[in-house]
Symmetry: C2
Subunit: 313 residues, 2 copies
């Protein structure tokens, strides 16, 4: 990797936004006359595959290691812990993200972070700023990312800017936003050939707070019954992870993309924290969380607040 | 401070760029209909005072403490260690900077960082983006910051963007860039009523690297003889700081703003590192460093490289 090429990639366990940003940023750099290529740091999920197929885009190559001093652009991500090992020795040229900031660099870098629902919303702005025209393909993948990250504008993380950008992109891509959007989200909900463990690992994040080991796993669904038919398998998989990783509280959320509710399966020796956080009583390990769709804005903050209250008492 | 007002400020020991960014960002927010006020985290230096007087601007109020959840915009700075105590509990709404990134936030924030010579160059861009017109006063203080940070475009940190922006701002401000620029830099060189300690503390930064305590202090001058008339006093002040703070290597730079050279006074038990870094031999504690004007791009990297080489041997 002793070349000048800029490697562009998002976070590990990539979602549609990470893939969209990698593709559209590499393309933007190419249009500006710079050598750049998009990469992925893991397998493409079914939703992203549907988007790539729809807009006839190839999936980025897998990147599994990085040499020091490689030129890099980080997209949809700025934390070394969610990137490749060795990223701290790469030559980071630019960061485009919409998550909290947790970044140390040795040199000044180009960084654009905005509290919008989707990093591809920022990518759209960069194309406009640099006066580079957006092809229907690029518009399609950016649009897919916004639909995915904002759960069709229903997530509390969604801003007016995300919505306006999505509408403009749908026009460029030449598709009906809502028709395509629900098909895209639906594509991500197909768990028919997944094992229980695969289901809970589709989108699983671990947190540690005051010695409590917490895992929140989430899956989108257009029909919660399809997920709950697999309840026993899912519970077994959760119990397995709890045993193997000493998890205190495991929250699995099946999020209804049409109704914007989530139904939870909760296990572990600290389910009391979950019950207090959401003022609910689990019945055979489950409960319905009305209007709850966002792990980062709704579920995690409620649990952390409960943990902090306990400390104060 | 339980109000909604956004407090805008740069780093402690403020320079012209920190004051310019605070004033121009607060003004930009006001123009966009938001309640905001500029502040300073320390005394105004003579150069900045000259700029404020020229463009008939009031100095920002001193801010010495900050309540939690106060709305804040950080400019020309993103490291908590160079800001107010308690900044980590403030509600950071935005960051505009041109230094290395070293920031952790709990929530996503608006952050624009670019590797340009001056943060006011980014401020100019934000006015353009937001379609807010730049008054001659605002142009004047931004221009002053660019002249100051880039040492009239002579610093290796200066980019083409800084230069073009400065030229545009000079037109808006209605002044001759070079005439004004040298007067501004000259104003910052007046050390006639300073004590030795005040001279070395005008712009002093501490670094720690592999247990070596290093201080690099810098002052601008249009006549190095004026500074070196005070050599004995300066050396005494350096010795005092070395004693009190257990500094291993103290580098004092008097930078000739016309010739773009620096003359150094170097003291401490590790002057060997300095001599190796610059392949020079100190004569009565001094040496001339030709073409060296930037602490962050030239002096510090050369010393760090020497320290790293030593480890490898």
């Amino acid at each position: 990797m002793a070349d000048n090429m800029i490697r562009v990639f998002g976070h590990t366990n990539p979602d549609t936004d990470s893939i969209s940003c990698a593709i559209t940023m590499a393309n933007l750099q190419n249009q500006l006359g710079r050598e750049a290529q998009s990469f992925r740091l893991g397998e493409i999920n079914k939703e992203t595959q549907y988007a790539l197929n729809t807009f006839d885009l190839k999936e980025p190559e897998l990147l599994s290691n990085i040499d020091s001093n490689t030129n890099v652009i980080m997209v949809d991500n700025n934390e070394f812990s969610q990137s490749l090992p060795g990223i701290e020795n790469a030559h980071i040229q630019m960061v485009v993200d919409h998550h909290r900031l947790n970044l140390q660099t040795a040199e000044p870098v180009y960084c654009i972070a905005e509290p919008v629902g989707c990093a591809s919303t920022i990518m759209y702005k960069l194309y406009k700023q640099d006066d580079v025209s957006i092809t229907p393909k690029m518009a399609g993948i950016m649009l897919s990312a916004i639909i995915s990250d904002t759960l069709m504008f229903k997530s509390p993380t969604c801003t007016e800017q995300d919505k306006i950008t999505a509408e403009r992109l749908a026009k460029i891509a030449g598709i009906n936003l809502y028709d395509y959007g629900y098909k895209l989200l639906e594509a991500g909900t197909d768990i028919s050939n997944f094992t229980g463990l695969e289901i809970i690992n589709v989108d699983s994040k671990d947190f540690k707070h005051n010695n409590l080991k917490l895992t929140i796993s989430q899956i989108n669904s257009s029909n919660l019954e399809d997920v709950f038919k697999r309840k026993t398998e899912i519970e077994q998989a959760i119990e397995q992870r709890i045993q193997e990783e000493n998890i205190d509280l495991f929250v699995f959320l099946a999020t209804d993309i049409l109704e914007a509710n989530s139904k939870a399966i909760v296990l572990g020796n600290r389910i009391d924290i979950f019950e207090r956080a959401f003022n609910t009583k689990l019945i055979s390990n489950t409960t319905l969380l009305k209007g709850m769709v966002s792990r980062k804005k709704q579920i995690l903050p409620a649990i952390i607040e409960t943990l902090e209250q306990k400390i104060r008492i």
